[in-house]
Subunit: 385 residues, 2 copies
């Protein structure tokens, strides 16, 4: 508890854009987020008063950081589970717990658990040899399969499409722990984002469509266009069930495939604020960042309803260097679209790096998509139409 304000201190390990945006939400609640950042140039470190610079893989750094925090939570998945267990054993309130986080950190553990729960997932298998991969592929009846590193993958990294099972040899030779999965024939990707508090309350956001390019999410449409009420309820129920069974505390993003024929299978889980819910800052009554804080503090959760009939978020990737600077690009964008909401993460621009996002709200999803894409292009390339 902060003696100056009578309000709790939430510590977030990791100084990226998720911590940066969580700080905005913390300010409204009368708090100041405490952030453990790897570098003073991290996006959150640039704006958060109570920033500690330290290594999140160093137990001593984590111990020092946690001291005085009412609860410790995470902006990324890179804190060793053993350290999280040690902190908890020493009396630190860590949310979510290491046992829960395992299902976001380790795809094999996640697939085992979801399979045991009867949650629909792609056909999968943990493998350690080329022969096992060949068996798996032949049982599927041929066709490409997907290999995934059990840990460490994100934004398309750690995922490989194998046209031939023997292609796995190179990955196994590198010592990468793998699972293999059927390559799902999908219509599109969806995300069901919920938050759960220790008390057991769960709040579900409207189900969204996520649009990927080169394995990176570039666009989120809220609510998912044309999704039937039955399918939306099914997706939310899946997410609520997973949050409850896994005892998630905080935000849980369930990435889903909508398969040919209309069924849903779970692709990935993330247990922190997630790119698929950045649209909630303006597009939902309570943002996912405030919701995450409320959840880890065991506050009652906030209303999740949409603030407009349709909301589109587009990620802003760093473009080629040279040309006009980011400040000038913001000028031009604001001049041409006074209603677009801009979020920049305080990052150095590098090609392909997520440096921000834009959100537009309105009635007509097709128009909003064009508008969001145009705004993102302005910020990436300094050109518009």
């Amino acid at each position: 508890m902060d003696s100056r304000t009578g309000l709790p201190i939430v510590g977030m390990v990791g100084g990226g854009q998720l911590a940066r945006m969580t700080h905005q939400a913390a300010i409204a609640l009368g708090q100041s987020l405490r952030v453990l950042a790897a570098s003073p140039d991290d996006g959150a470190a640039l704006v958060v008063a109570d920033t500690v610079i330290g290594d999140h893989t160093d137990l001593e750094a984590l111990r020092g950081f946690a001291k005085g925090c009412d609860v410790v939570t995470f902006d990324h998945e890179h804190v060793p589970s053993d350290h999280i267990r040690t902190l908890a054993a020493e009396g630190v309130t860590v949310r979510p717990s290491a046992d829960t986080l395992q299902h976001a950190h380790d795809k094999r553990a996640m697939r085992y658990k979801l399979t045991a729960l009867g949650v629909p997932v792609p056909t999968w298998r943990a493998v350690t040899s080329q022969a096992e991969v060949a068996d798996f592929a032949s049982a599927l009846g041929g066709g490409p399969i997907v290999a995934k590193a059990t840990t460490g993958g994100y934004d398309g990294r750690g995922v490989w499409i194998l046209d031939d099972p023997s292609d796995v040899q190179r990955l196994l030779a590198e010592g990468i722990e793998l699972i293999v999965e059927e390559k799902v024939r999908l219509r599109r990707e969806l995300a069901a984002v919920v938050a759960r508090s220790p008390w057991g309350q769960v709040a579900a956001y409207p189900v969204v469509e996520t649009v990927q390019r080169d394995g990176i999410c570039i666009e989120v449409l809220a609510p998912a266009p044309g999704l039937t009420v039955d399918a939306a309820v099914q997706a939310q129920q899946l997410a609520i069930r997973i949050a409850t069974e896994l005892e998630v505390v905080g935000v849980l993003a369930v990435e889903l495939f909508e398969v040919d024929g209309g069924g849903l299978v779970v692709n990935e889980l993330a247990m922190r604020p997630h790119n698929s819910a950045h649209w909630t800052i303006e597009g939902a009554r309570t943002s996912q960042f405030e919701q995450h804080l409320r959840a880890v503090l065991d506050y009652p959760l906030g209303e999740t309803s949409l603030t407009a009939p349709a909301v589109v978020m587009a990620n802003v990737l760093g473009g080629p260097s040279g040309g006009m600077g980011i400040d000038e690009r913001v000028h031009h964008l604001f001049a041409s679209d006074p209603g677009v909401r801009v979020h920049l993460y305080g990052k150095q621009v590098r090609p392909g790096r997520k440096i921000g996002h834009v959100t537009v709200l309105g009635e007509d999803m097709r128009f909003l998509r064009a508008r969001a894409a145009r705004a993102a292009r302005w910020l990436r390339e300094g050109v518009g139409d």
Copy 2:
């Protein structure tokens, strides 16, 4: 310009809640506000990474603070005009300028200027003797008059109702510089808030009704209920004209009296984000805090339209000490109203002190007023219905 991000550095003198909320807006724009706070316990100092502790009446402190800022602006009216002029003469970009700010700092200068512009104001006079006050009162035909300190008043301080002109003697004896005004017979108070950029763009928010108790604003209704389109346009045009004629840069709040019969007269001016527009954080497409940043940076201004048909903001005042703490009050409020938006300023609770505000959005103004009042009461007193 911040070399780490390629984005500008805005310096705000003053570390109160206006700077605190402006920081939230700066974060979205990829910036980190730089704040000059009087104390490390100031609301903004608790949350802003780039905080400088210093005395805003000390020219050397201001000079050091301004170094490296792209523009310097203000969270309050207490910086001496001479210091602002000196900074500007030394090459610091200060917005608004000292000449402009004079009309917010000095009620006599403001009344002279508005009278010269033909803007409707209460009948008024600058006075230095009891005889002048008696003349003024008798010219009005008797009845109570209002005395105002030319500088330093806020939240009802520096304003006195004189039932008898001779009551002014006590104030003159204290050496207070005064103007006197007719006591306007008013229906209600309104506020017209606009922002203006150096380029000359002006953006106007919907006109609101402000509800005062004991000289302190307790509630803001957006848009002002029952205001005719003609009256709303007249109020916006007045504010746009004042912003333009006075060369305001940043947010300008024009406090208005709606008099019996329906006319409008200008009461006060504020040239910074203002309590009468806190509702814009959720209730308008662009908040007044982002708008102020965009204006002082000469960015194109943002859309000002409402995000819901009706928005009500209620200020949260500190209640009696004892009983449940603020953290527990927030819990109870969130449990009973998951949709209310809470903003706490990081202040120690003292009776009558503004410690935060709440905002509710919806359709029915009467229902929203009851809901906002209930939420503010919960946070003030730890009781609800």
